[in-house]
């Protein structure tokens, strides 16, 4: 019986490919954040990651694709998390609290990526630009829906929902500008602070922030299951 060697699993190869690709994307985010997207050539990137032009293009496709990939490294986990959080059965404020933390995990954990895409998203064209806008809109939609639900339930004041969404996002997103100067700060602590200000600021009546923290902790365990 001739035993055939096991077919090399496709996944192992593509897994390695994927891991290498992601590490290149992360190094590119570092380089673009430091020197600017326009000023950084593919040759600079090749030197930085230690690859010749040919192999580099094999991994990245194109410079614009790389910019889209930098965006995806933040947006893919953020959308995955926020979809799961939104789907939980829980109060809108506890879910907003989890969503806030998920956003801050990206803003703090991937601040080079966030720096690059907040500054350079206008360099995306065609379908990449469309997808970027749609994903951003999807994410903002979760926030808008949860705020609207909290207003409907009488927990938050009836307010200009659009300005509420923009205030919430602004407070969170701007964190990328200063997070490097406060290395000790955690997404959990910052989220608790921002949500404390925001929820109290828009509360219809006195609200119990500790109850929201408690429910958010309980919901979190449902996510990790």
């Amino acid at each position: 019986m001739v035993i055939l060697p096991a077919a090399r699993p496709k996944t192992a190869r593509s897994e390695r490919f994927q891991a290498r690709r992601e590490s290149i994307i992360d190094l590119a985010a570092e380089l673009f954040a430091r020197n600017g997207y326009a000023s950084t050539g593919v040759a600079d990137l090749g030197e930085y990651v230690g690859l010749e032009r040919g192999p580099l293009y094999y991994y990245i496709g194109s410079k614009e694709q790389l910019l889209a990939d930098i965006h995806d490294r933040v947006m893919t986990p953020l959308l995955r998390d926020s979809e799961a959080i939104y789907a939980l059965s829980g109060s809108p404020l506890a879910r907003l609290r989890l969503l806030s933390q998920s956003l801050l995990e990206q803003v703090i954990g991937r601040r080079d990526h966030v720096w690059v895409f907040l500054h350079e998203y206008r360099a995306l064209t065609g379908s990449r630009r469309t997808r970027f806008r749609q994903e951003r809109e999807t994410f903002e939609g979760y926030i808008r829906a949860l705020i609207a639900q909290a207003v409907k339930e009488g927990v938050l004041r009836s307010t200009d929902t659009e300005l509420a969404v923009l205030s919430f996002l602004g407070m969170h997103n701007y964190t990328y500008q200063w997070t490097a100067t406060k290395p000790g700060i955690t997404p959990n602590r910052l989220s608790r602070y921002y949500c404390g200000v925001f929820f109290t600021g828009l509360a219809a009546a006195a609200i119990d922030l500790r109850a929201i923290e408690k429910e958010a902790s309980r919901l979190r365990t449902q996510l990790s299951r």
Copy 2:
């Protein structure tokens, strides 16, 4: 809310020079915001403003000086206003409300300048960088002092003042990212909204936002006198 008249230029010639210089700075802000600071050469700028290299350098000094000037076009009126606001005899919250509006007037009215300096300030070197940091610190100092005073007076909750300052600034500054998409929004309305959320969010007890608006209006008339 540019309240105080600018220092009178010494002569008619320097007035003309100054006006031309400012218009070049504003056009440069437009160009840098659109195409990036690093990718825009002095030659591109010359073409855009309609000046040969020699006369252009006569007005701008250098490209880095231009970046510092773009920053000054926002920071000079902002610091002048905020110093005057801070010096008023009024409650800390009413003064914060005026300061918030003054900041939003710059962020909304000079969004190209704000776009450029929030993205490119790291290109400033030496004394220009030092001055930029000092001015930023001076402005943040007014916010910090007013929040601290409100806490001391028992109007705002005792809180992490640094996070309070960062939340306040983040909500305001991030406005530059979306203000172009909401052309109808006024600094006054937006400031009222942000301060409403922020003050209520950090209030030690129920606060009367209408009383704060009233006092802010009264203080405003003292500024323009």
